[in-house]
Amino acid sequence: MTGTRVQRALGGHAAIGLLVSALLYLIALSGTLIVVHDRWQRWEQPDIVETATLSPAAVQAAMQAALVRDRGKPPTTHLYIRLPNEDLPRGVVTTDHGASYVDGSGQIVGREAHSWTEFLIGLHEYLHLPATWGVILVGALGVALAALVVTGVLAHPRILRDAFRLRMRQDPQIARADWHNRIGVWTLPFVLAVALTGAFIGLGSVGTTMLARAYAGGKLEAIYAPVFGHEPAPNPAKAALPDIATALAAVRTRVPEAVPTYVIVHEPGTMGQHVQVIAEHPRRLIYGETYAFDARGGWRGPVGLADGAIGQQVAASAYNLHFGNYAGLPVEIAYILFGLGLCVVTATGTSLWLRKRQRRGLGGTRLTACWSVVIWGTPLLIVALAWLRALAGPDVPLATVFWSALAAAIAAAAARPSWFPDVALRTILAAALIATALVHLLLFRTAPGSVLAIDVIVLALAIAALTLSRRRSA
């Protein structure tokens, strides 16, 4: 790879892009969808009783109800109670043996069975690989994305001159290049932020393992403790359940501006049990502060994520900055649009390279068909899995079906490229989205407006895409 700096940068950009583009596209697409994963969870299970709040007494009752539900099973090591909020106005109690929704009085009203939403989250966070390796791979892909940004800027000498040029009604190759460059340039701060925070989260286990070996005799908890707090030593001797209600009341009295989001009970029903309340702080990037309590609800104090060491605040901010859940629906919508932009940049990048090959007579029909399957077949499969989840129940192995079907479709595209024309795949996807939204809307027409809003938005977007596509090809 010789030539000018720009040519070398373009070569490096293309090489990294071709290596990672398919996986990067899957992560970008699933990440875009799960910005509002709580809303998808409601959409997936729209007929669950909802509640705007859970009183401290109801939270206490929810804990007891979950332990009654688990009777006869090994004691749970942790118990989590998610408190309702605007995105998910449902209480959820989770133990080692499963998760259940609870109503306003803390009584169990149904199983948390959002396996399709969890499938999307798993695709984004670890590509359904064994968790540790998958998270590391996704973190490494975040680094590759950051390197793509750097080489992309170096390969783009006319970055300022072309800043607002989008020739989308010219030759498709010119339009593709403009989409790739313009969206890439203007979403650069967003892409760098999500790429590096994603890499921070994904590769964290490697760094902490190294630090643990160097400074703590291999004990990871000792490395995490200065940031996320210490875990008291367990004591398995039996004890009465902890007083969560008192702990929640203490948070409301001592930190009235904080909004509790989670209650975590460690080793419930043992002498070593203790309680943590995670509470959001308005107008902060941190996901929340963790307040620690003893079993009787006695105040032990905050961990320091809100106003402790800078490192603690930075670590606690990385998650919200990555997932876009720090300023309500407007920022979530912006993250979805920027995420779609990243999908466009990823898709057009490889398409540009494939088209250049074809125009130079280097072939590539099979590769182009495979790429079309990745770009349009993946969302189509995601829609198909929503149907499968609805028809066959939440215990269907969605990840296995997804990867098998995607591999089969790519193999079929390589064998018979003419079966997978771009336009047909796009049209089928739009039709599938319209059908799904319409059926959901009709079946669950009595569901809350914010659930049905998803159907209306999907419907509108699919119809608009179909109309624009037909107008362009006319």
Binding site: A15, V150, T151, L166, R169, L211, A309
Partner: protein
């Protein structure tokens, strides 16, 4: 206050668009106004303010780009027949070269970045930084350093020249480790 700062950011992006390709002073004023508004938000609401200001700015810029696309004239100009930036390997030698590049850019650069990040935290620890700060610094620095190394390597002409970036990082890491 927040609304005013966000409005200023919208005005700033509009000025950048107005000055684009024409009056550079207007675009410069737009950039200056945007930075001032971001600083206002950061001063008032810290990282949260900076984040929502940046999101607003990106959204506004994308709106202008999409508008430019929507109003762009339809032409039949053909794109030039450029050569693809890289070619698929066709011989064993090419494939071996790609594997070598992969090894240099992925596992070797990863380890070099990890070592340098670890050494930097050791220096910070020696200088009195706390456990939380040094731990998070290590985790943040590693991907940043790896991305820089990756970009640096991938803009070199050939695998031989790709050795220098991770080697330099590893040497610097060793020097810092010894100094700590």
């Amino acid at each position: 206050m927040i609304a005013a700062a966000l409005l200023l950011i919208l005005v700033a992006v509009a000025l950048v668009r107005l000055g684009w390709g024409g009056r550079r002073g207007v675009a410069g004023a737009g950039w200056a106004l945007g930075i001032a508004a971001l600083l206002m938000l950061a001063a008032r609401d810290g990282a949260w303010g900076l984040a929502i200001g940046t999101v607003t700015g990106i959204a506004a810029a994308l709106a202008f780009v999409l508008h430019a696309g929507w109003t762009s004239p339809a032409k039949t100009r053909r794109a030039p027949r450029e050569a693809p930036a890289i070619l698929l390997p066709r011989r064993w030698h090419d494939l071996g070269r790609r594997v070598l590049v992969f090894v240099l850019v992925v596992p070797i650069a990863f380890c070099a970045a990890q070592w340098l990040a670890f050494a930097v935290q050791a220096v910070a620890r020696r200088a009195g930084a706390g456990d939380a700060d040094t731990m998070v610094m290590t985790l943040l620095l590693q991907p940043i350093l790896w991305a820089v190394l990756m970009a640096w390597q991938m803009t070199r002409a050939g695998p031989a020249r790709m050795v220098a970036p991770p080697a330099a990082a590893a040497l610097l890491g060793t020097a810092l480790w010894c100094a700590a």
